[in-house]
Symmetry: none
Subunit: 411 residues, 2 copies
């Protein structure tokens, strides 16, 4: 079972967007033990797209195509694929219903283009799109398999994981089972150093490190007869990795740093509020990502202006004179101030210089202080971050959540 | 002159690395007016690499291949290319000298593999590598052009810019120039409907719609002799599109909705503060994306808990009893409350049900109210959004910024 990944979209050929789908699918197909021998990218051009399908199926058993399922004129992947297999497009009532509901919920009216999205290739099975409008398609024809998925990763990835992976597993011998360890507070390369020898020596299970924005992931993948067997194989590796990375590992599997932190607060019956300066709401927004956070999260104050730090967070004016707004003292006062203001057990704060202006010799761009208040106890962390404004704010957010995690775990 | 980009490396097919070279080269070739119709990625496999070269040259005049010029056994791009053109590899003394110096400078000794790197295809011209060891190659043969570059971007990019761009500019007929129109507050498919006929009829300039998260983009691209000529060609199209889309267009070129809004505040000398509930800080975070926002943005209160809405934003308790927290009345009171609290001219607010819990029949998940206060005047917008928690919050954020934009422009 050889697979080829076909990316459709002129924006890719113009370099407007980076082809992350091809990497994502390649990685996951590798996990599934399905070899990928070619990637092809073609524009929204009927002739060239058809030619690309011909070539792909001449050398591969399966083609996974992403993109070109949208409502617009130049979205042609489905039409050309049907043509290639000499099939008609037929209306898929259930998809049409989904799409109609999708638009009704938003109080918008359906366009011709959206109705076009409800058509599928005759004899194919539909991959439901619970994340957007365009359904995906799996077509088995003459020993070949064509899988069509939408281009936007926000739709493509969950559709692939939810519906395509189970379908593909039926082709791979035995089962592939993998576990993810989530790491933060340590650089990717530093993490890799610590487990390098394991990564090198392991063949089954394999260990693959992935960098995520400000975090890192270790995916341990085992090929085995059964899930139980795979889990046993993985267990030993996980144990060794935990020995090396210790509390840099904040979670396992499908979770997030904010989810781990919110669950800790729920367990301990603690409420929280946040005082943000340079992050401008990012820390709070991460917490609010977690459904049910309302049980522990009361609110936040974004004190971008120092007046607000003084008036709303009761940071003493002397702090600014003596230490400045970007100081451990100010961060801790902000954390205490918000906790008392909102009447919560925990207060978290961040103040720093995100740039591009405002840096000085002794307080350069990237200098950030995170403050933590837990029932009268105060602590802080100093960060010296590099990169642009957004990177500094993102890393501050992650470090803030990690400081909170460590505080709640008394690490 | 059609160009194809050929990326060589098994690590790409395994998804171990992201193919940023293809994007980089595509973007630069577009700048040079050289059309790219295909990207192909192939592994370090002699047969498949040779086949990929055959296919590429069967449909393109020029192939730019990156990767596979390294010192190891599986670096074969040069060898296979020579084979493809029935040419010998010959030692290039100057490159050997460079490589030797490269290693001497680092106190390392030369390996056989590195000497192999000094061999080039007979009759080709060498692209010096001042950033690593592997030289690049330009081969003109039978009306076809093959350009080989190393895979590491640190070497590929400077070699391309320094030596390949000057070479390529001799081929490009005129230039390609494009302009981007940024659209929000209207769905991609609905926007498409309004300009469909233009997109169909236009060949030069072309009009291409792209969906962005909660926004849309129209890229108008013209091929012309000069930038001036291209700009004139684009001007007319932009005028027509503006006639159709009117104030759904919030900006042109490299900008963002938050940047447009912050600039409007600066122009009008207005300060702003934000009261957020379901968005949990996302609106504020978007504003803080903009460098220099501190001149207009004072701060925000994230009133996730109703107590906070009452205590900090002075939303009268009756509002909750009569209309509930998710109501136009509450949204407007929140906007007024934050503006008065922070002493700003403008107050923006959002309150809604992001789910997955909390939806009712008359107040379903996705129901959101955005409130706007500008110097005593209040307005609001009701949204009925679909999708998951994060999508609802993202679209609320964009609609909130758009309501603010319209308020500031008296639209």
């Amino acid at each position: 079972m050889r697979c080829e990944i076909l990316s459709v979209g002129t924006e890719l050929l113009l370099g407007d967007i980076l082809n992350t789908n091809a990497q994502y699918l390649s990685r996951r197909l590798a996990d599934l033990g399905i070899p990928v021998y070619f990637h092809t990218t073609v524009g929204d051009n009927p002739e060239r797209l058809k030619k690309a399908l011909e070539i792909a199926f001449s050398r591969s058993d399966m083609v996974i195509a992403t993109g070109g399922l949208g409502p617009t004129q130049d979205d042609l992947t489905k039409e050309i694929s049907a043509e290639f297999f000499n099939k008609k497009l037929v209306l898929h009532e259930e998809s049409l219903k989904r799409i109609k509901e999708f638009f009704e919920r938003r109080g918008l009216n359906l366009t011709e283009g959206n109705i076009k999205q409800a058509y599928i290739i005759e004899g194919s099975r539909v991959i439901p799109n619970d994340w957007g409008t365009a359904p995906g398609i799996i077509l088995e024809e003459g020993g070949k398999i064509l899988i069509l998925l939408p281009g936007p990763p926000k739709e493509m990835i969950p559709m692939f994981e939810t519906y395509v992976v189970p379908y593909l597993s039926t082709f791979s011998s035995g089962i592939i089972y993998s576990k993810v360890l989530r790491v933060c507070g340590i650089g990717e390369s530093f993490m890799e150093e610590k487990v390098k020898d394991l990564i090198k020596s392991q063949t089954n299970p394999t260990i693959a490190p992935y960098a995520k924005e400000g975090e890192a992931i270790l995916r341990i993948t085992a090929r085995a007869k059964s899930k139980e067997e795979a889990e046993k194989m993985i267990e030993g590796v996980v144990k060794e990795i935990r020995k090396r990375l210790g509390d840099y590992i904040y979670g396992e599997g499908e979770t997030s740093l904010e989810e781990v932190v919110v669950n800790l607060l729920l367990e301990k019956g603690l409420t929280i509020s946040v005082a943000e300066s340079c992050t401008g709401g990012l820390i709070s927004a991460r917490l609010v990502n977690v459904p049910g956070v309302s049980k522990v999260f009361k609110g936040s104050i974004i004190a971008y202006d120092n007046e607000v730090k003084i008036k709303e967070l009761n940071v003493p004016e002397e702090i600014f004179k003596e230490y400045g707004a970007v100081s451990s003292q100010c961060a801790m006062k902000m954390a205490e101030g918000i906790a008392k203001k909102m009447g919560t057990d925990v207060g978290l704060s961040a103040t720093g210089i995100a740039g591009p202006e405002g840096g000085t010799l002794e307080k350069p761009i990237g200098l950030v202080y995170i403050g933590l208040y837990i029932r009268g106890e105060m602590s802080y962390k100093e960060l010296r971050l590099s990169g642009d404004r957004n990177r500094i704010r993102l890393y501050t957010t992650i470090n803030g959540l990690d400081l909170l995690r460590r505080g709640l775990l008394n690490l």
